[in-house]
């Protein structure tokens, strides 16, 4: 791979990536993957967010505030989204793949939050 060459590569989940033929509507959703430079930046951003996460963990005055948990959740969600979009190529891939992933993910998150309201610490706090 020419690391300075930003030449795009085709998505290989579609016929378009193998040949010019196969004109399907879904195939048009496949775009170029990120370049080496973008991968490098993504890795750097992920590392920096992880460093910040661990850093705030060691600030006692911050861990006692109400901002601590939301800030960690937001940083974690950003890291999650970055990996899914750039490393898993969901930003560049077909819409069906996005639906197959985000659909169950939404169900999973809603279930998790519902269970926390029913049985978790949130339920205890609301009851008291």
């Amino acid at each position: 791979m020419a690391h300075n060459d930003p030449a795009p590569r085709g998505g290989h989940g579609t016929p378009d990536s193998h040949a010019a033929g196969g004109a399907h509507a879904a195939a048009h959703d496949a775009h170029a993957h990120p370049t080496w430079k973008q991968y490098k930046w993504v890795a750097l951003i992920l590392t920096l967010i992880t460093v910040v996460e661990v850093w705030v963990y060691y600030i006692p005055s911050f861990t006692r505030t109400k901002l601590f948990v939301p800030s960690l959740l937001i940083m974690s969600a950003v890291k999650f989204a970055i990996v899914v979009m750039f490393y898993m190529h969901l930003k560049y891939d077909a819409r069906l793949f996005r639906a197959l992933f985000t659909g169950p993910l939404i169900i999973a998150v809603v279930t998790l939050i519902s269970l926390m309201f029913l049985f978790g610490h949130i339920a205890i706090r609301l009851a008291s």
Partner: protein
């Protein structure tokens, strides 16, 4: 060939791959559906951990010290954040190595003139790096599990131990499966070389590997960092 010429390209692609009526590779659809189902599996395990969090009657506890009479002897908070932070970094870097392995396979036929191009274009190198980083993560996890057992926390000790070992153990099993999968790709690469025609196989393995990484991103925050 199908009876209808319009469906010919659906049955088999130029590399013998079978595409669905969506125009997408059936194996990639399957792996995304599998990843979707895995999201729900890990959500159930994380939910269980969070529901039981702070409800253990006996120690050791994740973030709090345990003193007599709750514990027979004084115990420190059991989670080792520096070690887990290092293992998180290792897994993140393994994801970078995996995307570089995939890019190297896709661009195998592209001429490489400089040394850096040849290094970046070596699928064997990046698959090895991914495997080694995955194995290193498993080493960190083995160290963590062993130290927990030595400090008196097993899967049978308390609610925290049960839910923690189940969640992280399931994740570790997924990482182990991923390392074995990458090992098979490496073996194929040594035997006959992985080329652009194999990119879909490497891509599917990469999707699984990155999924294991994103699950750990969630576990690291929800289990280790949130007190």
């Amino acid at each position: 060939m199908s009876a209808s010429p319009a469906l010919d390209h659906i049955e088999a692609g130029p590399h013998g791959h079978h595409y669905t009526t969506t125009g997408l590779d059936s194996r990639k659809i399957a792996v995304w559906a599998f990843i979707g189902s895995e999201c729900m599996l890990f959500a159930s395990l994380i939910s269980t951990y969070l529901i039981y969090k702070g409800r253990s009657v006996v120690g050791p506890f994740p973030h709090e010290a345990c003193n007599p009479p709750v514990c027979a002897t004084a115990l420190k908070p059991i989670l080792n954040i520096p070690v887990t932070s290092a293992s998180t970094f290792v897994l993140l870097m393994s994801s970078l190595a995996m995307v570089l392995a995939l890019a190297a396979v896709e661009n195998r036929d592209v001429p490489k003139y400089s040394l850096s191009d040849r290094i970046l274009g070596s699928s064997k190198l990046w698959l090895w790096v991914t495997c080694i980083l995955g194995a290193t993560f498993l080493g960190f996890q083995s160290y963590e599990f062993t130290s927990f057992v030595h400090e008196g926390l097993s899967i049978r000790t308390n609610l925290f131990g049960s839910s923690f070992f189940t969640l992280t153990g399931f994740h570790g099993a997924h990482v182990t499966a991923g390392v074995i999968w990458l090992g098979t790709l490496l073996a194929i690469d040594y035997k006959r070389g992985l080329g652009p025609g194999d990119a879909i196989n490497v891509d599917i393995a990469a999707l699984y590997w990155h999924f294991v990484d994103v699950v750990w991103i969630a576990i690291f925050t929800l289990v280790y960092l949130i007190k």
